[in-house]
């Protein structure tokens, strides 16, 4: 943020079979996208515990990407459907914390969709850049009326 431009910090949870391979494919194809997102490899998008997302946001991330195989293509049959079912609940919870749901995105990216991976990362970077820094501490700090919100150590896994 030295030049005044805000650079969002993004964490990506990529399933090992489709989306991580898709990200590799973007690399092999030398597609260019913003360097804001740092990937974490998981075996399946179904492995992504919502607390990981909360942990990332609490530790300073401004946005999170969860990416898995397309519905029906899951290497583990239906792990991605589990991720799909948890996602709206997670968003609902984040909204209650006062966090914009646009910061957390779930996408289906196949091993061949290097271009899609690059596009999604670019879009998410721009979306979060427009939203500005997350400021987890500030948002979850006690309110002036004395009511505390988000005080609980949500991310202490």
């Amino acid at each position: 943020m030295q030049n005044g431009e805000f650079e969002p910090k993004l964490v990506g949870f990529l399933c090992r079979w489709c989306s991580y391979t898709g990200a590799d494919f973007a690399g092999i194809s030398r597609l260019q996208y913003p360097p804001n997102l740092v990937p974490i490899r998981v075996m399946c998008s179904g492995r992504v515990d919502p607390t990981f997302v909360v942990k990332a946001l609490a530790e300073g991330a401004d946005g999170v990407l969860i990416a898995g195989c397309h519905p029906g293509d899951c290497h583990y049959q239906e792990g991605n459907f589990r991720a799909f079912r948890r996602y709206p609940l997670l968003l609902k919870m984040l909204e209650q914390f006062g966090i914009e749901p646009e910061r957390v995105r779930l996408e289906w990216i196949s091993a061949a969709e290097g271009e899609k991976f690059a596009r999604v990362v670019s879009e998410l970077t721009e979306t979060v850049r427009a939203l500005g820094p997350l400021d987890w501490k500030g948002r979850t700090a006690p309110r002036e009326d004395g009511v505390q919100q988000g005080k609980r150590e949500v991310a202490n896994v």
């Binding site: 650079e7 910090k9 964490v11 079979w17 489709c18 991580y20 391979t21 990200a23 590799d24 973007a26 690399g27 092999i28 030398r30 597609l31 260019q32 996208y33 913003p34 360097p35 740092v38 990937p39 974490i40 490899r41 998981v42 075996m43 399946c44 179904g46 492995r47 992504v48 515990d49 919502p50 990981f52 942990k55 990332a56 530790e59 300073g60 991330a61 029906g72 293509d73 899951c74 290497h75 583990y76 049959q77 239906e78 792990g79 589990r82 948890r86 196949s110 091993a111 061949a112 690059a118 896994v157």
Partner: protein
């Protein structure tokens, strides 16, 4: 314990170092917790690089290693092995991907370096939490499944089979060979495709280690590398491949023709066919879409489409023979059947149903007129069967059993056989002469009918030496109304009335007739009364017209003949002084619906009235009237005989019963059906087979056929005598249609079933190879490896409308032109236009669909070369002027460029430019009657119009149909255009990301024959190396539980896609079955108490990774 972590940063030549400042990352890494040493090197994956790591492990006592280089999908194994070598558990290693996911995708050096730091920090933090793990080894089975029997699949199969391992080769088509079998010549050598392919096809089929499943599809794949479980669906060929000698006799008699797909629909084939003479397996098959709906709807399962097809071919005797094998009394059935088949006839959705029953009557009457008898029957079976009752059910049973080679005796209580057909169906619908004719024919076929022979005790027949007995006693008593005065003279049961009328025992002296009831027999009674000269005939029915069970046309005919109807009326008493004079009735209203769904009639109080009637016919149903002596038979509460609905067994062993006596009064065709069912049971009973097994398992009903291009045409009408001429007597109302009408009507059939099941092939087939009732079968196999070789399909040229494919008959696609050149093709190898003339000029358009951003982005790789081949063949065979319209000539293979050069000297024109249009609109006189190819010649820079007689579209390749389903089944990925994705584009071209599954041929991308064969062999080598090793090492990524933390909530059990978690009720905890767990970790994410964990993807490892990223971010 404090860890000692070594961090190794790879430059990857300049791949990483030109974007990432490695020295900066190294300085940063040194500041990370527990890092003992940081080193950088040009190529970490090289031997010196690995040695560097090993040395540090040994000398510095490192207990964790991080390598920052390329994707772990590429080199994770390399570095793990290095750790192993140096005595460090291979899972105390973590890799960070700074090439594929950093240096290659970012150009801002500063930002890329920052990201690399985050990646390294994440890996360092993560590896600190790693635990030593043991790998799991699974055995690899010695069998391979190959999906697709084209040249790539054949090559792979032969290679593996030769090594002594078992191969299951599954092919969707009826023959192996794939597209190559359709080709005439192959480029660039111009050797004949069949000459080089067919020996391989035979070799693979004959190989003792190859099990061939043609006409089959892989339906389900489960398991994992080394132990795949595969379900293969074998579609029925309806011909026994082993017995079939491929003599082809069946083809000549088959009446059904379809377009020949093997000739790209440019010729026809029969419903029984083989793809081409060298097909492997060399056996015929029958194209059956399913059971024709007409046959499916017929209670007796009559092969209606079959006799229709034969009538269409004017083979009336054959048609009659087929009907006789289904029905005992064809002329009778052709007159009285209520033909449910016609209601289901698919033609009805276009215009009107085919007049199926009318055609049956035509064939039967034609046979009678021309003295044609059905094929004589031989007695081939030992047993003797007694049938009690000579009505339709009894005769159907006798006919079926005699067809199957049994001796049958029918015992009939009356003076003449025929049952209700003789005594209850009025003469105007069914003349007695017709019935006699049909029954006599049965006698001629060897069925013995003993009339005036009532049977009291069926078991006595068994004692007399009959192997089995079928009771078809009928329902011979009219139900009575149970009202006051119904015993008066002038009140008759429907059956008694109809029988008396038939036997001419009734003379009319001006009756006023009231018929009570609304069924078909009420209509029979009313219309009979009209013919007997009744003064008036009224039908009294307690519900309304809409609820009448009688067929509409029966009611309409009755009305036309002067019958009056009184609806919502019910008789309550017959009045008169000893003799009926009046009927007292009450009016009804319709209440709530009853069990039959019809609204229940309720009397309206005080609405009584009387009407004059001196003859009252009760047509309200029939009852079984079983004579004494049958008391041992178990009966239902309605008095009918109790028989098993499937086998028709009664409580007496060896005694079966069916027809009206079991079901209550029903239709003639239902009685026929019961008789046939009983015959099947008796056949099984007498030959000691299970009575039930496989019964009623039938081939599914065919889907609706396409009516595209079918012209609407009205259905034939039977000749009918005018109603004014009917009432005076009992002349038959309808006549038989004329021969030409019959043929025209038969041609209206849409042939829903594909094969018409006319059974002509069965008659012709000496080795008895035909199995018309063969069912689909699912085979389960277990294999260690899978090779996918599903090939391609040709791009559909009609998607480019300006080229006129499908509009102009002389625009052909590549495969069509292959068939035109082929000696076995539709023209016998002559290149002829659709008018049958030799073309004077031929245009070949390259890149049709391919290299076109509107269709296929990619180059299909084979089209240039096959276009050159076509050019050569066209020139050679026709001497025509040949024009090639190309963008670039891609002659990249061995001998390809040489072939191109050869063509350049063969007087063939090459025009560089993509054709914009093929048109039939002439602009110049020389273009009259020609196809004109319009194109910009990009070398000359001019527009050209080239008039030709024939255009060949060199269409590109797309993935084969069904590739999507396979993608899902095998967890494969697809690249451009939907072709299967290999593990690595250069280094693992036949492997897939799923271990144990390999790719071969055009399913992976467009490919010519030499490349497809190479890949087949390569995939075989991949599979063999896995199987020879015999074990496969699995990643330790399975889930487990910390028992003490598990609360037994079972959430994980519902989340597991593999049902790999069981519940231990005693300990109240869930338990992971390691053998079933595939390691997705979904259960871990769902565990609310933190009891679940996943090896190498534990919560603390991932959390540390998150922290590492964000820690580095804060530092930035």
């Amino acid at each position: 314990m404090s860890e000692k972590i070594g961090v190794y940063l790879c430059h990857c030549g300049t791949n990483i170092s030109q974007t990432v400042d490695i020295a900066e990352v190294a300085r940063f890494a040194e500041t990370l917790p527990n890092v003992a040493v940081v080193r950088e090197y040009k190529y970490m994956c090289s031997n010196p690089g690995q040695e560097m790591i090993k040395k540090d492990i040994r000398e510095l006592g490192l207990d964790r290693v991080v390598v920052s280089s390329c994707s772990p999908l590429l080199h994770e194994e390399t570095f793990r092995a290095a750790c192993d070598d140096a005595g460090l558990n291979r899972f105390l290693f973590q890799m960070s991907n700074v090439r594929e996911q950093c240096s290659w995708v970012h150009s801002d050096r500063k930002k890329a370096t920052e990201k690399a730091k985050k990646l390294v920090a994440a890996a360092v933090m993560r590896v600190a939490k790693h635990e030593p793990l043991e790998v799991r080894k699974v055995p690899v089975r010695n069998e391979t499944l190959i999906i697709g029997g084209g040249i790539a699949g054949i090559e792979a199969a032969l290679k593996i089979a030769e090594s002594g391992k078992k191969v299951y080769l599954v092919e969707r088509d009826s023959t192996i060979g794939g597209h190559m079998a359709k080709f005439d010549k192959t480029f660039p050598t111009l050797d004949c495709a069949a000459c080089i392919l067919t020996p391989k096809m035979v070799q693979v089929a004959d190989h003792p280690n190859v099990e061939l499943y043609t006409y089959s599809e892989v339906e389900e794949v489960s398991g994992y590398v080394g132990n795949f479980k595969v379900k293969v669906r074998k579609r029925p060929r309806y011909v026994d491949v082993v017995k079939c000698t491929a003599c082809g006799e069946c083809v000549e008699v088959c009446p059904i023709e379809f377009k020949n797909e093997f000739d790209e629909n440019m010729s026809t084939r029969k419903a029984i066919f083989r793809a081409f003479p060298q097909a492997v397996p060399n056996a015929f098959l029958i194209d059956k879409k399913g059971k024709a709906p007409c046959r499916a709807e017929c209670p007796a399962g009559v092969h209606a489409q079959g006799y229709i097809a034969l009538i269409a071919q004017r083979r009336y005797a054959d048609a009659f023979d087929l009907i006789m094998s289904d029905l005992p009394l064809p002329s009778v059935c052709g007159r009285v059947c209520y033909h449910p088949c016609e209601e289901r006839c698919e033609r009805g959705s276009l215009d009107e149903p085919v007049a199926i029953n009318t055609l049956k009557r035509f064939a039967s009457d034609w046979a009678a007129e021309n003295g044609v008898e059905p094929a004589p029957r031989k007695r081939t079976k030992e047993g003797k069967v007694a049938v009690v009752g000579g009505g339709p059910a009894g005769l159907a049973c006798a006919n079926e059993l005699s067809k199957r080679g049994y001796a049958v005796t029918v015992f009939e209580a009356n003076e003449k056989p025929g049952g209700m057909l003789r005594y209850a169906i009025p003469e105007y619908r069914l003349p007695a002469s017709v019935l006699d004719r049909d029954i006599e024919r049965l006698e001629k076929l060897g069925i013995e009918i003993r009339t005036s022979s009532p049977v009291d005790d069926p078991e006595a027949l068994l004692r007399e030496g009959y192997g089995g007995v079928f009771l078809a006693l009928g329902a011979q008593k009219s139900s009575s109304m149970g009202i006051e005065g119904e015993d008066k003279e002038g009140v008759m049961g429907m059956l008694e009335f109809l029988r008396a009328a038939k036997e001419k025992k009734l003379t009319c002296i001006g009756w006023k007739v009231a018929v009570v009831g609304g069924g078909n027999s009420a209509m029979d009674a009313a219309r009979t009364a009209v013919r007997l000269g009744a003064e008036s005939v009224q039908v009294l029915y307690r519900r309304s017209r809409a609820e009448m069970p009688a067929h509409d046309w029966e009611v309409e005919e009755a009305e036309r003949e002067g019958v009056l109807f009184k609806f919502l009326v019910s008789p309550v008493a017959v009045l008169g002084d000893g003799k009926a004079e009046k009927v007292k009735c009450v009016r009804m209203r319709l209440g709530e619906p009853d069990e039959s769904g019809r609204r229940r009639p309720e009397p309206i109080e005080g609405s009584e009235f009387t009407l004059d009637a001196d003859l009252i016919v009760m047509a309200i149903g029939q009852q079984t009237d079983i004579a004494g002596g049958m008391e041992k038979l178990k009966r239902s509460k309605w008095g009918t005989i109790e028989a098993d609905p499937v086998t028709l067994e009664t409580n007496l062993k060896g005694v079966f019963a069916g027809g009206d006596a079991v079901t209550g009064a029903a239709t003639v065709v239902e009685a026929f059906a019961a008789g046939k069912r009983a015959a099947e049971s008796l056949d099984r009973y007498l030959s000691g087979k299970d009575l039930r097994e496989g019964r009623d398992k039938e081939i599914p009903v065919a889907p609706s056929p396409s009516t595209e291009g079918v012209k609407k045409e009205p259905r034939v009408r039977e000749p009918v005598i005018p109603s004014i001429d009917r009432v005076g007597g009992f002349r038959e109302i309808t006549g038989t249609i004329a021969e030409e009408d019959a043929v025209r009507e038969a041609l209206r059939c849409l042939r829903c079933g594909g094969c018409s099941e006319c059974m002509e092939c069965v008659k012709k087939c000496e080795p008895e190879a035909i199995i018309h009732d063969q069912l689909e079968e699912t085979v389960e196999i277990e294999v260690g490896t899978i090779i996918v070789a599903t090939g391609y399909r040709l791009f559909d040229s009609s998607r480019i409308p300006q080229y006129g494919y499908g509009r102009f008959p002389d625009v052909y696609n590549g495969l069509e032109f292959e068939r035109l050149c082929h000696a076995g093709g539709p023209t016998g190898g002559k290149i002829l236009t659709s008018k049958g003339e030799k073309p004077e000029a031929i245009a070949i358009l390259h890149c049709v669909g391919s290299r076109d951003e509107n269709y296929l982005d990619y180059c299909s790789r084979v089209c240039c070369m096959y276009s050159l081949k076509f050019a050569h063949l066209a020139k050679e065979k026709t001497g025509a002027k040949v024009y090639n319209f190309y963008i670039d000539i891609r002659a990249f293979g061995k001998g390809y460029e040489e072939f191109y050069k050869r063509l350049l000297n063969e007087d063939i024109y090459f025009i560089r430019g993509k054709a914009s249009e093929v048109t039939a609109v002439p602009e110049y006189p020389e273009e009259e009657g020609k196809l004109v190819v319009v194109c910009e010649d990009t070398l000359l820079g001019i527009n050209r119009r080239v008039p030709v007689d024939m255009v060949i579209l060199s269409a590109g390749m797309e993935p084969a149909e069904g590739a999507d389903e396979l993608t899902r089944m095998l967890s494969l990925s697809c690249t451009y255009g939907g072709f299967f994705m290999e593990k690595h584009p250069k280094l693992a071209p036949v492997d897939t990301p799923t271990d144990g599954i390999f790719l071969a041929g055009a399913c992976q991308g467009p490919k010519d024959i030499p490349d497809a064969v190479s890949q087949g062999a390569a995939a075989a080598a991949g599979a063999l190396s896995l199987m020879d090793k015999g074990v496969f090492v699995l990643e330790p990524v399975t889930a487990d539980r910390v028992e003490e933390l598990c609360s037994g909530c079972k959430v994980c059990i519902a989340n597991c896609p593999y049902s790999a978690i069981e519940f231990d009720a005693e300990k109240n905890v869930s338990v992971v079955v390691k053998e079933l767990c595939k390691g997705c970790g979904t259960c871990v994410a769902s565990c609310p108490s933190g009891a679940a964990f996943q090896e190498n993807f534990a919560d603390d490892q991932i959390v540390n990774e998150i922290e590492g990223i964000l820690l580095a971010a804060k530092g930035a």
